[in-house]
């Protein structure tokens, strides 16, 4: 990964994660307060649970992926994939149109 790429990646991660975490934490606290005060928070539990369950699954998957080195050499898969594709297509000639270059 070039330096500019890693910087853009890090910047996007921060720009996305920080405000979102802030927003979610705030709203989650609000939810807990409403739920405790019995002001109708109960019937919102279904979507919240839904979200938490889905996210918990993905969080586990994220940990599993990191543990298994999926993010160690992050740019490798994109080159490997193209190499594999050209190997699979070696000798294939399938122009889209007769006039195709």
């Amino acid at each position: 990964m070039t330096r500019i790429q890693s910087r853009v990646t890090a910047l996007m991660a921060v720009v996305i994660l920080l405000p979102s975490l802030y927003g979610f934490a705030g709203k989650f606290l609000e939810f807990v307060h409403i739920y405790r005060s019995g002001g109708g928070g109960e019937f919102a539990v279904a979507p919240i649970l839904n979200y938490l369950l889905a996210s918990a699954g993905f969080f586990c998957m994220l940990l599993w992926a990191a543990w298994n080195g999926m993010f160690r050499d992050m740019e490798r898969p994109k080159n490997e994939f193209l190499d594999n594709e050209s190997r699979l297509d070696a000798g294939v000639r399938a122009p889209l149109f007769r006039s195709h270059p």
Binding site: S20, N84, L88, A94
Partner: protein, 496 residues
């Protein structure tokens, strides 16, 4: 995907394309997809004619526009998009993983079962309401405590009759198993497409179960509304989007002969989608009795998704840089990047739509219908057309019969859609102001007529594009004249 031994041994040991891909099933899925697309577009045209009072089948119960509107949306989602995606996955997943699907027999079983499910859904929607007040059916419903009528379920996008839901779920589970096995067998860091595919298999199953079963059997009232909101949006974001993006990450580098700009950034996009998408569906129900903190939560997660989308768009345009000419020369690439421009516009719209101020104006108007067509047709259908344009010559072993018809297909589709989108967006703004000024309802529907008439013609253009594609495909498949049959696997240049 790690393989011991020396590179030469490894290359010799690796399976070939023919070992991996069953091309017949890809063709069958595409034929099914295009058939359902044709039906869906005819249904869309019928509904469009109804709105301008030109409905040709007035009084024919089985052709009543309300039922055919549901055919329009369901045939698109489950008939066209699902079939086209499944066909393409049968090409991409084995090639990405170097493993065949779990079972080819299972693939064929799923293919047949899925067509039966989609057809049964259509029959349920069209015939169900006619049958449902027959005495024998009422008696059966009473005896077996059937929760709903034979016909459509009263859930947006979940209209599949209740008796089909469990079968559809089994079908989705089998799809997941069939593709997860090769993905599970692959080794080493995964390419981003596989992350997207894997997530889509899990999400689609869960989303379908949540959206169809919970409101039907467990929750009611506002909670059911909240679930419905999650369902309709998750269907777009967790079924169609990950498959669409996954396939773009697969096909764009192949066609541009260049790796994606940043794989790291693509993974940020993937994990961002995973964490922020699931909560945003409630943004469809702003100003409803759903608690405000949930509505705000949805607004915030939508903003987060906007940033995620920006990463994806940056990545693809970064990849195009230096290869811009391909946009003009290479038709599939043009389809892909046109779809991406439309995607960017869709997301830009989302950024506006998600604000409460904006919702006041456009909620329930044709703005939303324009938005739906932009994303479903302008983005995902154009991508699938691009993929089909690229793959059919390989699948059929000969180039397209006519380049002009391919070009017409592109221009009529993209142009028709652009007109339809602009037209409906404007209609939405007019309707919003009519309603806000508290004029009688008729004033708004009368005022919408010019827009609705324009929509009919835009739809006809899109349909004409499809006909060009179908004619071209038919002639290509027949091997008519045009083929100076270039052997599909002769030595020479790779596919372009």
């Amino acid at each position: 995907m790690t393989h011991g031994a020396s590179p030469t041994d490894r290359a010799a040991a690796l399976p070939t394309h023919d070992d991996l891909v069953d091309e017949r099933i890809v063709i069958c899925y595409y034929v099914a997809a295009l058939s359902f697309l044709t039906i869906s577009m005819i249904a869309g045209l019928l509904m469009a004619l109804q709105l301008v009072h030109w409905y040709p089948f007035k009084g024919v119960e089985l052709l009543s526009p309300g039922r055919w509107r549901m055919i329009h949306t369901n045939a698109i989602a489950y008939g066209f998009l699902a079939n086209a995606f499944l066909g393409t996955l049968h090409w991409a997943v084995p090639r990405l993983t170097f493993h065949t699907v779990a079972s080819r027999a299972l693939s064929w079983f799923i293919f047949v079962a899925w067509q039966a499910i989609v057809l049964a859904t259509a029959v349920g929607i069209v015939v169900g309401p006619t049958l449902q007040d027959r005495p024998w059916l009422l008696a059966a419903a009473k005896a077996w405590h059937l929760p709903m009528s034979l016909g459509a379920q009263g859930l947006e996008w979940g209209e599949t009759p209740f008796w089909i839901d469990p079968v559809a779920l089994v079908g989705l589970a089998l799809v997941a198993v069939n593709f997860m096995v090769p993905i599970g067998r692959s080794r080493g860091p995964m390419y981003v497409s596989l992350w997207y595919f894997m997530a889509a298999f899990v999400w689609t199953f869960l989303t379908y179960a949540m959206g169809n079963l919970l409101p039907e059997y467990r929750v009611a009232g506002t909670s059911a509304g909240a679930i419905g909101g999650l369902f309709i949006h998750d269907l777009v974001g967790l079924f169609v989007t990950p498959l669409g993006w996954g396939l773009m990450y697969y096909f764009v580098p192949i066609l541009l002969k260049k790796p994606i700009w940043s794989h790291g950034l693509s993974l940020v996009g993937f994990w961002g989608l995973a964490f922020f998408y699931p909560l945003q569906g409630i943004h469809h129900f702003l100003y409803t009795p759903i608690p405000m903190f949930l509505q705000y939560g949805a607004v915030i997660s939508t903003i987060a998704v906007e940033l995620v989308v920006a990463t994806v768009v940056i990545n693809f345009f970064g990849t195009l840089s230096g290869r811009g000419q391909a946009f003009f020369d290479n038709l599939p690439v043009r389809y892909f990047y046109t779809g991406m421009v439309f995607y960017f516009i869709t997301c830009f719209q989302c950024a506006l739509q998600v604000t409460l101020t904006f919702q006041k104006l456009i909620h329930f108007t044709d703005w939303v219908v324009g938005h739906a067509h932009l994303v479903m047709f302008g983005v995902f259908s154009l991508w699938l057309f691009g993929i089909m344009t690229y793959l059919f010559p390989r699948l059929l072993g000969r180039p397209w019969w006519s380049r002009s018809l391919c070009e017409y297909h592109y221009w009529l589709s993209a142009g028709g859609l652009a007109v339809m989108f602009l037209d409906l967006t404007l209609a939405g703004v007019f309707q919003g102001y009519y309603w806000a000024s508290l004029q009688p309802w008729d004033v708004s529907t009368n005022g919408s007529q010019p827009f609705w008439i324009t929509r009919v013609f835009a739809g006809l253009a899109m349909f004409a594009g499809l006909i060009c594609f179908l004619v071209n495909l038919w002639m290509t498949a027949r091997g008519a004249e045009a083929t100076d049959p270039l052997p599909a696997r002769a030595a020479g240049t790779p596919a372009a």
